[in-house]
Structures are given as C-alpha cells and as structure tokens.
Amino acid sequence: MDIGAIWDLIILKPMINSLISLSQVLWGSFGLTIIVLTVIVRGAMYPLTLKQLRATKAMQMLQPKLAALQKKHGSDKQKLAQEQMQLYKESGVSPSGCLLPMLIQMPIWIALYQAIIRVMAVNPESFLNLSHYLYSWPVVFEALPLNNQFLGLNLASPNFLLAIIVGASMWVQQKMVQAPPVPGADPKAQSQAQTMTVMMPLMFTFLSMSFPSGLALYWVASNIISFVMQYFISGWGGLEPLKDKLVLRLSQLFKGQGSLRDRLSLAGRTQVLPGAPQSPDVSGQLSDEVADSDRGEAAAGESPAPKKDKAKPKSRKGKKGKHK
C-alpha cells in the first residue's frame, strides 16, 4: 500500500464521509457543513493550537533579547548559538514549540481542504471520482449530491467578494499573531513578519478568486476561529496600535466629543489603575460635552494615540499605560 492509499484510508476517507454525513444533519446545506466541520476540527485541535500560540508568544517576548545577543555575538556564530540556547533554556522556551503543534495539525488541515474540494465536486468528473472515497453507509448515498447553494453563493464557483473577505480576515489573523512593536526587537525579523502579513492574505485572495468559493468559505471560517482563539490567548497582538488609531479617528469624527474616545478606549482601564487620575463620570460627561465641545476636540487632537492598552490582555504583559 503506497503512502497515498494510506493517507486516503486513514485521513481523507473518514473526513469526506464525516462531511457528507454531517450535511444530512444540517439540512443538506454544504455551506453550513463546511462551517460546522471547521469549528469541530478546530475545536478538537484546540489544545495543540493553544500550545502553538503560547509558544509563539513566548518567542516573540524573547525577540529583544535575541536581537541583543545577535548584536553582541554577531561575528561569532558558535558563541551566538550557545548564548541563544542558553537563553531558550533559561526562559523555558523551545524554538520547536511553535512548529511542532503546527506540524501535527497540518495533515488535518490538508485533509479538511481536500475533503471539501472532493465533496464539492465542481464538475461531473469530480463527482464520479468521489465514489472512490465513499463508505457504504446509507446516509452517505442518500445525502449526495450536496446542495452547493449557500446564502446566494454557488460554492462550486469562485466569488470575488468572498475572496476579498478571505484576504481581509487572513490579514487580521496575521496581524494578531504579530507582537506589537517592541523596542529593541530585531528589525530584520520585524520586517519579515510585516511582509508575511501582507503577502499571505494577498496570496490567499488570489487563490480564492480561482478556487470554488466553498474553499474560500472554509478559509474565512478558519480565520475567524483563529482570531477568536488568538484574542483570548494573547489579545489584539499587532492590531493594538491600529485599534488605538481607530479609536482616535472615531473620536475625531465625533467632533468635540473627546470623551467619547475616553469612553471607547479608556473605560476599561480606569478600573485597573488604582490611584490614577479618574476620568469624569460618564453621566456627567455628556452635559460637559455639550457645554464645552471645543475643549473636548482640542483634547482629542492634542493627546497622542494611546500607545499602551491597560485592557485585560495587556495587563498580562506587565506594561503600564499612560492614563489621561
């Protein structure tokens, strides 16, 4: 038995038959089935994802120290390697920590991707080929062919809008994986990470424009699950500065309502900084805003974008923000 046959037997066939059987429960809707199966598989992989995300975060935290080592021992590669290993050891971080869980999950992602492509059967040849992967379960035979229409989309054809959503959601996800800019971090590594943040979403957008939109739906569902997980594990990550900028822009939009920004961005922080100067009471603010809108606008314009968020995920990083 060659490796392809083993792959089909152990991974692909169970995935394909689960997908088809699940669709029977979900009113024959293939779109809904893709979303639900993606959630189930991502849920089952959660412990590994958690490990991977934590390891990634730990590696990101070490970046300034690694950059310092690079600067110090750049010319002596052996010494640099020794020092890096020592640093990893002391910090309890394994460089393979983020790679290994990802490698374990990889076959599952590939199988899910292949299963969706095969079950979608975009043309008659694909549908005939599907018969080679089916179990002799009555439910499987009764469910086929699946309904490729979902929310007005034909999942067997490419869809431009969904391709854009794939790119956007992947950009958000990539950005969240990135650590916020840390002083002292290796600029080369930062630049590489930034390139990836742009290139990956672009690549997937292009792919989605050519592939059946069922796959794009899978990528969107997967990205959304990823950034929800990411948020609960390490917060907004690289989106932090952007979020702050957005809040500032919003406050500028609402002319003279500087306290709106306060409410949006700082409401949660006032509670975690005992002893810090308190913002005026929100109920009192509303009347102040009406009475003195110019003052509010000036305040919003003058103050720099809040760089450090004291919201829950940030407080774990042990950084202190400037409270207005």
Binding site: V122, N123, P124, E125, S126, L128, S131, H132, Y133, L134, S136, W137, P138, F141, E142, L144, P145, P158, N159, F160, A163, L202, M203, F206, L207, S208, M209, S210, F211, P212
Partner: protein, 381 residues
Amino acid sequence: MRIKKKSLKLTAFTALIAVGVVITGCAGVGTAQAGWSGVTAGDGSVYLGSAGGKLVALNVENGFYQWQENLEGSTTSTGLGCAGAAPAVIYATPVLSGETLYVGDYSGRLYAYNINDRQSKSVLLNGASSKSIIGSPLVHDGTIFTGSTDGSLYAFDAASLTFKWKYDTGGEIWAAPAAWQNSIFVASFDKKVYSLNSQTGQPNWDAPFECDGPIIASPVVYGDMVIVASLDRHVYALDAVTGELLWAFPAGDGDEQGPSRWLWAAPVAENGTLFVAGMDGLIYVLNSASGQLAGTIDLEAPVAATPVIAGSRLVAVTDSGRIFSIDTTSYQKIELRNLDAAVTAPLGADNGTVYIHSVKESTVYAVNGETGALLWSTTIE
C-alpha cells in the same frame, strides 16, 4: 537613495500583484474537464465528442478522419471579470437520426449537424442563463428531448430546434431520457423517475417514482417495464404505464465495509436478463421479470462506462481499461485486452464491433466483441 530603493520595492511588489491577478484571475486554476462522450455508429461512420470540444466523424472501417467540427463552446468569466472563450466540453454521446447528428455540450447548447452538408443549427437551453447538458439527447417522433442540470427536460422540434415544452424536476438531470410509445421517461438527481407525455410534457403517472438516491444512469425500457439503477445501490423495475414498482434489487447488500456500490452505468437488457455494472467491479445478472439475482461477474475494478451487447456477448470495460466479453447465457467472462487507459464514456457497438472512447488518452478503439482483436485505434487531435 533610500527613497529610490523603497520605490523599487513598491514597483516590484505591485508587479507581483499584477502578475498574480493575471495568472489567477484570467488563466484560472480550476479542475480540468474533458467530458465523457461515447461513440455512436451509423451511416459508415462513428461519431463522438472529443475532449477538445469537437464533433468528430471517423470512418467505421479503418478509423480514418472524415471530418471534425468545433462546437461553439462558451464564454467563461472569472472572479475578476476577465472573460475568454472556452472550448466546448462534451459529456453527451451524439445521436444520429436520419441525416442529422444531435449533441449537447456543457455550456447548455444543443446542436443539430447535417452530416452531409455539415450545416448546423443550435439552441441554448433556457436562454442565456442555461445550465449544462450532460446526458445524451433522445430523438423520438420528430422531437428531440434533452435533460439539463437546471433540472428541466426540454423538448424541441427535431427539424427546426423550435422549443416545444419543458418539464421541471427537482434536481439536475444527467441521464439520457428513454422513450416508449408516447411516453418519455426521465430520471433526476431529485431521486425520482418521471413519465411524461411526449407531445405535451404532462405527467403520465399519478406521482413520480421515488427512491433513496439520485439517478445518473439512463432509464432503460424493456418490454413494458422501465428499469432504473440508482446511486442508492438499487435496481428498480417499474410498470411503464402506471409507474408502480414491480421489484427492487439491492446491489451489494450486507457488505457495509465494502467499497462504493454506486450504480453509475445504465443497465443492459438481453433475452430476459438484465446486466447491471457497478462501481464495485461486479456485474449483477438479474432475471428481468422477477429481479432475482442469477449471478455476479467480478471484473475486479469499477465500471462507470455503460456496457454494450455485441453479437451474442456483453462487452464491458473497467475504469482502468480492461475489456471483458461475457457470454449472455453462461455468464462466463473472457478478458479480451487491457487498454491501460481510463474509460468512463459509454461504449458503442455496431455489427459485432465495440467502440471505446478513452477521453483521457484522446483515443477511440474499435475492438471485435467476440475475439478482442483490435481493429483500429485513432488518436483524436
């Protein structure tokens, strides 16, 4: 200097995006389609739809080219709005009626070619929003019938291709319709078989017959029965007049761990016996009156191509190209030859010769159904 470097990077990046847009948006990377048109013989020629979207006529004696015509094809549009002409994809086996050859393509266009002067006319089913034609058309009583993936059976005047009527089923139609007296039988992905009046398109039965799986194989009329093989792995015999179920045969029942048991190929009837080839590699031999299993013939590989009767033998080809000849009374099989070529297109037969179209190899083989001798083979350009 720095600005220059930056702008160079930006230009390279923009160029990369542009190339990506062109490659993925306009060229496309979807699954290639080749169709699975079978071969039909008549009037000294064999006719088929090629993988390149051409209607091809070969000399029945030696396989030499007689003529070929490009079908119109379709205009494709990608997600980025890039449009281009795509060659026709032909799944339907051409049908010869008098001097006219009828065939449908995947863009939903039905063509009528005069084989003498090669003048053609065509009609796009259901206007511009037409779906695809996969099943072969049927000519009956001056009318041509064809199913579509939009779920409708269409009837056109065979001479003028003027629209007569259409009947909507609840699922895609991939099977060729069958005719008996003034009835047209059509099977659909909605798991139902319909009997329609060939003149009016009105249903003949009180209710369509319903089974548990979609039907891809064409219904076969045998005597006053309609035989249907379904993806639910059952063969059904229906009363052609009333639609009443006469018997049902479960193929591969009881082997839950076995391979797929789809019945993709249409049944073949001969001398009171039905031969039903399955994707499990078995040919089920059934008594046509009772549906009782008379025997099974193991071909050891899936069969998607509908077999044919050639002389006194049934000829079947597996999806890997192994050709078997089966005695229709003793059910003894002989392996005639191995083409080593994937075959999914229905077989054609004329005067004891079997015509096999391997779409993947773009080759037509003419094989003696009794001896297995290869009479000729022609590669379609």
